[in-house]
């Protein structure tokens, strides 16, 4: 019974971090039609910056703030200096399908090597902002800790802020409009290019938070966020790659499913478990769990 509860809670905590990553991927996909594999790299660089601040000032939250800022700047920069150039060289021919994928992979490698050149390959750790000792229920101690609770809390406050921005502000309306129908949004007076860059910035900031939260419970290295990218992508596909709510739900489902595999089946099968979940979703509901039919697809 304890094991079941523990699995659910830990799954919720891991899943909530995947949710941030998948939201970042969905935001970029909706506005640019690119799955940004460099998101892991952007999150990594922001996390390293957050790590520097957090380890110098010993204040985790200041590090987090810097990571968000760095992530946002980086996201906007990638769109402005990289994606615009890529799309300007209107790609045609055999590589047209692969170009955006390859370009973001190249960017991932570039950021990874820059991080490696500056910080090296050794594992870094950020001092966790809360206790990592598990809670005790009655006589048994479960691995679910105050840190896990804090992670869930942080993620959900960010989700609420995002929901307010997207549903209640003009900026959110422009973001949704230019993702849904760029031409019409442009006719309505929205500067879609600028809005797109803002979307990338939000995605970058959210990715930065994901990186910091993962690292607070783990190590940071130039490769440590690759898994986050993969699981974030799977979560986004479960949600249909279009819907932010869907991707959050997808991430929570994935987090819980993977923790079940981890606790009940076998440690090394977690990674292939993600793949199996992905294939199942694509075979059964390729448009994602939130799909309501084709009508709303622009």
């Amino acid at each position: 019974m304890h094991k079941l509860l523990e699995t659910l809670l830990i799954g919720l905590s891991t899943g909530s971090i995947y949710a941030l990553m998948s939201i970042a991927l969905v935001l970029v996909w909706r506005s640019t039609r690119v799955v940004n594999f460099a998101q892991a790299g952007q999150a990594m660089l922001s996390t390293y910056i957050g790590f520097e601040i957090a380890s110098r000032t010993e204040i985790f939250w200041l590090g987090l703030a810097f990571a968000i800022a760095a992530g946002a700047l980086l996201g906007a920069g990638v769109d402005f200096f990289f994606m615009r150039v890529l799309f300007k060289h209107a790609v045609s021919g055999a590589a047209a399908v692969v170009a955006p994928v390859i370009a973001t992979l190249g960017l991932l490698g570039l950021i990874r090597s820059i991080v490696g050149l500056i910080w090296g390959g050794e594992f870094k750790s950020i001092k966790a902002p809360a206790s990592t000792d598990g809670f005790t229920i009655g006589e048994t101690t479960i691995p679910f800790s105050a840190l896990n609770l804090l992670v869930i809390g942080t993620v959900f406050s960010i989700l609420i802020v995002l929901a307010i921005v997207f549903q209640r502000t003009n900026l959110g309306l422009s973001l949704r409009a230019s993702a849904y129908a760029p031409e019409i949004a442009q006719l309505a007076g929205i500067k879609t290019a600028r809005i797109r860059t803002i979307g990338w910035a939000i995605a970058g900031g959210v990715g930065g938070v994901a990186g910091m939260l993962v690292t607070s419970n783990n190590f940071l290295s130039p490769y440590s966020l690759d898994l986050l990218l993969v699981f974030g992508f799977i979560a986004a596909v479960i949600g249909g790659l279009e819907s932010m709510v869907g991707s959050v739900v997808g991430a929570l489902i994935l987090g819980i499913a993977l923790t079940f595999i981890l606790n009940y089946v076998g440690t090394s099968l977690v990674f292939i478990g993600g793949f199996v979940v992905l294939i199942l979703v694509l075979l059964v509901k390729p448009d994602g769990i939130m799909a309501k039919g084709k009508a709303r697809r622009a």
């Binding site: 692969v98 994928v101 190249g106 960017l107 990874r112 490696g116 977690v270 793949f275 294939i279 390729p286």
Partner: protein
Amino acid sequence: MRKKIAFFIFLGWILLLIGDRVDELRVYQGAQIAMYTIALASIVLLTGYSGQVSLGNGAMMAVGGYSAALTLNNLGSPVWVAFLMAIVASALFGAFLGTAAARLSGPYLAGTTLALAVGLPEIANQFNFLGGVPGLLFDVGFPPERLGEEFTQYKWFFWIASFIALLALFITSNILQSRYGRTWRAIRSSPLAAELSGINSSRMKILAFTISSALAGLAGAVMAMTISLVAPGAYTLTLSFALVTGAVLAGVSSLPGVVFGALILVAIPEVADVVATRFGGGENLNNYLPTLIVSVLLILSVIFTPNGPGEKLRRHHHKKKI
């Protein structure tokens, strides 16, 4: 056709001559180039021709490597049977995966195969018969005695790898020039038009996936031979990325380009090493300069010559004629 066979035999003869004239390290790198050539051919067939992006070729190589190792160790079969098993097993796996993949496009497929590349090699850690982290031995044995005392192990690897690579390239180039190759290109340029001409595009895509996996599996077995073992650590995400990089740098739809791409993949660490020493070395520089060079090349080539350096030249040539 006869001309082509003659050309490949001539190529083999040149490789034999080269193999006799260079030192041990170069021979080893030659075997690596042969291995990458096969692996890149699998990407050219899949991405360049049928238009599907796979980031999971490292996983396919793992399937091939492990099947070959299991055959060799448990059945005690001759080496060529092991290589054959690598092809068969990875082709079957590819057909299975292709059935799911044919319904996916672009980024979906890329992400799915990425998840595969991350997950599949880890399975080996779970089951004892796959050898866990240290992996399984893969020993093709000593070179035959009649080749002489001087004939080294690495040269034997080089011979086997080159022979397999030449054979694989020959077969692949024939497939690509056949009806199948043309059909794949038709699907890639316009799926709708292809369907209207009576092509079953999903079946053709599955076929492309199957053949491409078979090639990747073969490359995986060759790689296992050159490093004498199969282990999860050999078939990493980095390998999968490197393969895509090599294919793009060489021009993703040109089969002869794969040799060039393989050469780049083997040469870049060497070049980076020289540059790093020039700039005073340091551990970070040594470790990350290769990635830096590769990434910058990748980005530049995607932006400026997305279809490979060959295409720009051809187009230039074409313009001059007009």
